[in-house]
């Protein structure tokens, strides 16, 4: 049910759309144009690139999984709640987006650190979170989860509530309805939420370096490596950034193109 639009509409809509696309694409294109492509292979052969890539991929995947299994139920509760407070909870969820990442990292340290609000109770159990890979995942989840929850909640609110009524009269519990109807139907929303959250986690820098430190192989993700290399050799940093972009475009393009939609 698609049509070739009329010219007037096309222009009045096409011009701003093109402008939006340009605003986003011009800097990326510049980055690619200014890169020294011949150097990229050797830049990427630097011994700390591979561990950082591996770490980035494992931590962001963990974050994505956490979003999926923890964030989906939260989105579900928010979506079906009609309580006045829901709006405020939703506003609260956006706080990690607003928080300057470094402050977010400090907050995480204050909460989970050895002397932190929660951390002080973990220390006697022999659990220390800062400077570990777990800390990276926590930091990434902290910044990325809101994107996921808000995207999925929005999608879930769009469901026809009568479908739920029918499913329930057919004998489906909350859980079963969620699993067999709601989630399959909001799969595009979940996909875009996951994409947002994963991408945000992949680019996460400020909270990670503050909360988890910058240890090669353990907490040094690609953005942290870029930061370090920027100090040493900006060209390496750009090479790594381009690889980061390539990885993300590839993962998102392939996943969304093939499986998710």
């Amino acid at each position: 049910m698609r049509y070739a639009g009329r010219w007037r509409s096309r222009i009045t809509l096409g011009v701003p759309a093109a402008a939006a696309l340009l605003l986003l694409v011009v800097p990326l294109v510049t980055l690619l144009l200014r890169a020294e492509w011949a150097r990229i292979p050797s830049d990427l052969a630097t011994p700390n690139v591979l561990p950082a890539l591996r770490l980035s991929l494992t931590t962001t995947s963990s974050t994505a999984v956490l979003c999926l299994i923890l964030g989906t139920p939260l989105a579900w509760f928010l979506a079906r709640s009609e309580h006045r407070t829901t709006g405020w909870v939703r506003a609260l969820l956006t706080v990690p987006l607003v928080l300057p990442p470094v402050v977010g990292g400090v907050a995480l340290l204050m909460a989970w650190g050895r002397t932190g609000l929660v951390g002080q109770h973990l220390t006697p159990l022999g659990i220390q979170i800062p400077f570990t890979t777990v800390a990276v995942v926590l930091a990434e989840t902290f910044v990325a989860m809101p994107y996921y929850v808000l995207a999925v909640e929005g999608a879930m609110r769009g469901l026809d509530p009568r479908l739920e009524s029918v499913a329930r009269t057919l004998g489906a519990s909350d859980m079963r309805y969620l699993r067999t109807v709601a989630i399959p139907l909001v799969l595009p929303g979940i996909a875009s939420g996951l994409a947002l959250a994963w991408a945000r986690a992949l680019g996460e820098f400020g909270a990670t370096i503050t909360f988890a430190g910058n240890f090669q192989g353990r907490t040094q993700t690609l953005p942290l490596l870029v930061y370090v290399e920027l100090e040493r050799d900006p060209q390496i940093a750009i090479s790594i950034s381009i690889m980061l972009l390539a990885v993300s475009v590839l993962v998102l393009g392939v996943l969304r193109g093939r499986w998710l939609r």
């Binding site: 009524s165 029918v166 057919l170 489906a172 067999t180």
Partner: protein, 357 residues
Amino acid sequence: MSRTAESPRWLDARVRLSRGAIDVDVALSAEPGQVIGVLGPNGGGKTTTVLALAGVLQISEGLIRVGERVWDDGSRPLAPEERAVGLMLADSLLFPHLSALDNVAYGPRSRGVDRRRARDRARAELDRVGLADRARSSPRELSSGQQARVALARALATDPQLLLLDEPLAALDPDTRARTRSDLAGRLAAYDGVTVLVTHDPLDALTLADHLVFVEDGQVTQAGTPAEVLSEPRSAYVGTVVGLNLYAGQGDSHGHVRTADGGLVVTTSPTEGSVWATIPPSAVSLHLHEPEGSPRNAWRVRIASVTMQGQSARVGLVGDLALTAEVTLESVTALGLQVGRDVWAAVKATEVRTYPR
């Protein structure tokens, strides 16, 4: 539907709640195996009643009891999935991501039947609505009538204690509808739960239901067996549905009934006081000139509409008395019955029935 307290019915429901502009207060009761036909004008509260029985809406007062179990008493409603209920709404509301087969199998699966047996059951149900060959289709690929049939199959696949069908046959073509109606009749006869069938089609109601309930503006205006309703309609709406001309009026002992609009109807079966008077459309004869002879009722009327129905025609008349006549197609041609023409309508007094309001 007044019942003595000592014989509680198997289904015993008094649905009271407010929806939009209207207050719904509908009482339904039935024994296992019975079919309650619910009829009424648009916006009367039929769907609201059905949703309350399903547990999708909660009643504010009243009681819903099925067998021994109280489903809702206005305070602690059972959730829909805790009620052994089957629901089909006017919109088919199929799960868009599941095939027709999996839509039908959804109920059995949710109620714990294993995948293979649920699918077998679903296939059988689809077969019964004539869609065995579309089992793999997604709802989007089905026409509206096909979707309605899948939804019907889905509601029937769970063998609920209470089966709620909201206009199940409205989207079906006459052929399929006739087949589905008789198939449904067969299935409902073998079914030991109670069925609540909302319909706008009097034929469905008369052929499928043991008991009819008319809901107008949230209130029950008439309830009874089809025969009772047919013989003594108690609202203008019911009159339209059963195809009788119905008048509220004041009767005297001489057999004269003065209708609310001021018309005069003569009957041989007088009832005094506030009465209903009915005239079967088939008892109305039309004449181009003032009739002489036996009919004691004769009104000067104008033809407002002529519609064909099967092998006969229904002629809508306005004038001294508004009424509908049923005549043969030949009469239409022979008398030149056209809209706007002035004619005489005659009815024998023996054909006019009256009964107290």
